[in-house]
């Protein structure tokens, strides 16, 4: 019931905005309220969630039975955390939209809420076809949000994004048909495993585009730069995590053989993406470019954790997904505020903004320090877990990962010094004010959540998979053949039932 409610509330609010002719001024506050209700619902659910158990808050109705498709939703620990990320970032993004007073407010806020609802649907799906429906439904609002409210080259950016993603997801549709028909069910809970490489590749490519994974990242720079900042925040922070969910929920448990066959390929591609993304991030001339390519790097790191295919790597991947989601959302929102204030995010025109603006400097510095995974931060915990996990697949991957952390420090510090310090840039006007209360309301919660996670990263990493705590001590966890453990880990909810 709660799961359905989490999907329906934003969608219903979106329909309300589209249909009822509310004055435009009320659309933003209404949408923000709906987004906050959503956060409240999720928080209530998270408190009552039993993190030691399997699938919870589930609802199950037959949709069309001849193909074995049903509306089946529910949460595991990790999907609950990803959903939390989605609703929190979604609320911040809607709040940002309300703050900048987007034009055509009813359409805009409706689409934002619809996007939130469909992302929650993705994270809750326990049926392949339902997953596909939500996965595709995300695309519709993104296409319009980028194409209508984006920057000067928005139309090209949105078309590129949609074509990339749709090619991936149509391959996935072919895989879903093949998998579902041969299993006689589309249910993720009751279907068995498949060792067909082609079906696996259909899923893998779809998620590789969505994440993105090198070399499927061609859409990334344009989309993250041309999208409105709050949409970029949702895109990089949350939408990319649909790939994380898909890999953990669909690919790892249902394709054990192809996963182990293709593991080294994917790990190598992830390592390349991590290094390449970090290097590109270091060379970008504007804030959003840095955040965009750092997302490529961070998502590749998460891929390393997932395909390490052991409990350490997997816990790290979930924790780091949350970290990256919050950090990149905060960075995109801050970048948006900077661009809005000074009309440019280019380093050549910025600089010296810290003088007289302590709050902006503090927020940017905190978010930056978290990005570069300073020891003690939650990002450090996530990266450490991932590297420790992938170390068991080969020390080389861990070495590349460790180097990339240094690269992350380089590009983050470059952003901080280029915006906050150095000579005062021509775009930075003398009298322009510091961050105001309305802006802080949007960014501070994200940063505060990161700080809270830094105090206790185990809140997420220790509560993502039902058997985590036990699995650390078991011999399988340290041994090589970990796919079996993983499968147990991911699906133990229904195995124990």
């Amino acid at each position: 019931m709660l799961t359905t409610l989490l999907i329906v509330v934003p969608v219903a609010a979106a329909l309300f905005l589209w249909i009822v002719p509310l004055p435009s001024d009320y659309a933003g506050p209404f949408a923000f309220l709906a987004a906050l209700v959503e956060v409240g619902l999720w928080a209530g659910g998270a408190v009552r969630f039993d993190y030691a158990g399997g699938l919870q808050y589930s609802a199950h109705h037959a949709w069309f039975s001849d193909l074995g498709v049903s509306y089946h939703v529910g949460f595991y620990g990790y999907s609950l955390w990803l959903t939390g990320l989605a609703v929190v970032v979604g609320a911040a993004a809607v709040g940002y939209g309300a703050w900048v007073q987007r034009e055509r407010a009813r359409a805009y806020f409706g689409l934002m809420l619809f996007l939130t609802g469909s992302i929650v649907g993705v994270f809750a799906s326990q049926d392949l076809l339902l997953f596909y429906a939500f996965f595709e439904a995300m695309l519709i609002p993104i296409y319009v949000l980028v194409g209508v409210w984006g920057g000067p080259r928005r139309v090209a950016a949105s078309v590129t994004f949609v074509i990339y993603t749709m090619v991936g997801s149509l391959l996935m549709l072919a895989s879903i048909v093949a998998f579902g028909i041969s299993q006689h069910t589309f249910s993720l809970v009751s279907s068995g495993t498949s060792s067909n490489d082609w079906i696996f590749l259909g899923f893998a490519v779809a998620f590789a585009v969505k994440a993105p994974l090198f070399p499927f990242h061609g859409w990334l720079r344009q989309a993250y730069t041309e999208a409105p900042p709050e949409v970029a925040a949702v895109l990089s922070g949350v939408v990319s995590k649909a790939a994380v969910f898909g890999l953990i929920r669909i690919v790892l448990p249902h394709f054990p053989k192809p996963v182990s066959d293709f593991r080294s390929t994917i790990l190598v591609l992830s390592a390349i993406g991590l290094t390449y993304g970090s290097l590109l991030a270091f060379r970008q001339p504007d804030i959003r470019g840095v955040v965009a390519y750092s997302s490529l790097g961070q998502m590749s790191l998460i891929m390393l954790g997932i395909f390490a295919a052991n409990p350490l790597g997997l816990d790290g991947a979930v924790l780091h997904s949350i970290n990256h989601g919050l950090v990149s959302a905060a960075m995109f929102l801050l970048a948006g505020m900077v661009e809005r204030e000074w009309g440019s995010g280019e380093f050549a025109r910025l600089g010296g903004a810290a003088r007289g603006r302590p709050i902006l400097a503090t927020m940017l510095l905190t978010a930056g320090v978290l990005t570069l995974a300073v020891p003690g931060s939650t990002n450090f915990a996530g990266e450490f877990l991932i590297l420790a996990g992938v170390f068991r697949q080969g020390w080389g991957y861990a070495a590349v990962g460790a180097v990339a952390i240094v690269l992350a420090a380089m590009y983050t510090l470059r952003v901080l010094s280029a915006v906050l310090h150095e000579r005062r840039g021509e775009a930075v006007t003398e009298g322009s004010p510091d961050l105001r209360f309305e802006q802080l309301v949007l960014v501070v919660p994200l940063v505060a959540l990161l700080l809270a996670l830094s105090v206790s990263p185990n809140t997420v990493s220790g509560h993502s998979f039902p058997t985590t705590a036990a699995a650390y001590g078991t011999p399988q966890a340290t041994g090589a053949p970990s796919v079996a453990v993983l499968q147990l880990k991911v699906t133990s909810g229904h195995l124990t039932k």
Partner: protein
């Protein structure tokens, strides 16, 4: 006394009633063109045609309800089964929507004939889908085709319309002739007219029989605008009055494809491997040609015409699969397809009336913001045609692909998937034009702050199409239930 002494064949009037109701409506509308004074003629004819379609739909539903097992009537020349009944309900629904779209046209000339022909075309299709032998097949085909030829050319003052009518007449007659030739060869080879007796005749290796089969297939492919027999489609769709185009695009597909599956499975079950491959190849050709040609279209009606060619390709995949899932897939696919097609052409009609000119990608720029309801509806129709979720189009594609995969033809699934990916560009291109381009000020017809021309009937048609396009996503089970019963009457 005399009546008792002359043996008359038993006539199952109920099974014929949907066609007869529409035929009656056509006659009344035609009489109205002479007898009813000019000022109420439009309302009168439209109401008569509309109620004809509504009655036919209800009667077809009654037939569906009372026909658990398939039977034959009139010396096995017609069949009474659920397959035909479901197709008839669809055709009647499409016809009703077309009447609603046509309502606000402000047409002055040929009003009575317009609606009479629309009803007559509907009656022909409803007769056609019941065809049980080669005679009724040809009769039904010509019946609705002739009505459509005239309808296409009805705007005699528009050169485009005349051109469309003439082209359709020539190419359509060519198709009909091929079908007739095929029928003659099949009859010559088997000595049978009925579909079932033809199927029971064991002469699989007679070349005449095989040539007859292929010519019958080609004749139907002309009507369903399957590539490479689609050449007439863009010109006719563009030239014909738009409500007529809407009716043609949706209803002709329903009729031609349901009959194609019936003919192939009942009359040629022994040649199943042969026509399976042939239909699959036609499907690939339609998907390739339809999608690639649609990419470069500037005129929205032409774009939709090529899109309908590509949809014919998708539906042929279901026909080629030749299994129970394929039968279900075909009928289910037709529901959101028909709704999205009617709806899209209805929005085009509205825009046409507003601009009094042709609707191109340029002339719909900014329309989404000016006309929120029609814009949003068009958006949904395009998503439906592209197969996005929250529209039945997605599940239609899923069913079609599942049927092909079950048959073991995974390559057909891959072709369908690639075609879908290509189609996104032009479907989303419409959305892009409506929402992401500023409206050209030269095209702004309503004065600033003015409201769009009111046309409640057309908006009702758009709303119904919208409801069906989206509703078929959520209420799959009942629709699939209908389709399952229907397909089982074909012994699939």
């Amino acid at each position: 006394m005399i009546a008792a002494s002359i043996p008359t064949p038993h006539v199952d009037w109920l099974a014929l009633s949907p066609a007869l109701a529409l035929l009656g409506a056509a006659s009344v509308a035609l009489l109205g063109a002479v007898l009813v004074p000019a000022w109420v003629r439009h309302v009168f004819s439209a109401v008569v045609a509309g109620s004809g379609f509504a009655t036919a739909g209800v009667l077809a539903a009654v037939v569906y309800h009372r026909t658990p097992t398939a039977t034959f009537l009139i010396a096995e020349s017609m069949s009474r089964d659920r397959w035909a009944a479901v197709a008839q309900i669809l055709i009647a629904g499409v016809g009703l929507a077309a009447v609603l779209v046509a309502w606000g046209s402000g047409r002055r000339e040929h009003v009575g004939e317009y609606y009479a022909l629309l009803a007559a075309a509907g009656a022909g299709m409803i007769f056609f889908v019941q065809a049980g032998n080669l005679m009724t097949l040809f009769l039904g085909l010509e019946w609705f085709s002739i009505a459509l030829y005239v309808l296409s050319a009805l705007d005699t003052n528009r050169e485009r319309s005349l051109e469309a009518g003439l082209k359709y007449l020539i190419v359509g007659s060519f198709g009909s002739a091929i079908l007739l030739f095929g029928a003659a060869l099949t009859y010559g080879s088997t000595g049978q007219l009925g579909f079932v007796p033809i199927g029971d005749t064991p002469n699989a290796h007679d070349p005449m029989y095989v040539v007859g089969l292929s010519m019958l297939l080609v004749g139907l492919a002309f009507k369903a605008s399957v590539a490479p027999f689609h050449m007439w489609t863009p010109d006719v769709y563009e030239g014909a009055p738009t409500p007529v185009t809407a009716f043609m695009a949706a209803a002709t597909k329903v009729a031609a494809l349901t009959v194609m599956l019936r003919l192939l499975t009942t009359a040629f079950p022994q040649q199943e491997r042969l026509w399976g491959i042939a239909v699959a190849v036609l499907a690939c050709a339609s998907l390739a040609i339809g999608n690639l040609a649609a990419l470069v279209q500037k005129n929205v009606k032409r774009m939709l015409a090529y899109s309908s060619v590509s949809h014919a390709g998708f539906m042929l995949i279901a026909v080629a699969a030749d299994n129970a899932l394929g039968g279900r897939a075909l009928l289910y696919y037709l529901v959101p397809y028909a709704a999205a097609t009617i709806g899209a052409f209805a929005v085009v009609t509205a825009r046409e009336r507003e601009l009094t000119g042709e609707v191109t990608i340029d002339s719909i720029s900014g329309m989404g913001w000016e006309r929120p309801f029609h814009g949003a509806a068009m958006w949904v129709f395009m998503l439906g045609a592209a197969g996005f979720p929250l529209t039945g189009g997605m599940l239609g594609k899923l069913y079609v692909f599942s049927a092909a995969y079950e048959r073991g033809w995974w390559w057909l699934v891959v072709v369908g998937v690639v075609a879908t990916a290509v189609s996104l560009y032009y479907y989303l291109g419409v959305v892009r034009a409506m929402y992401m381009r500023p409206g050209s000020s030269a095209l702004r017809v309503a004065p600033a702050g003015g409201s769009p021309p009111r046309d409640p009937a057309l908006s009702l048609a758009v709303a119904i199409s919208l409801g069906v396009t989206v509703g078929s996503f959520f209420f799959v089970s009942p629709l699939i239930g209908l389709a399952r019963h229907a397909a089982s009457s074909l012994l699939l």
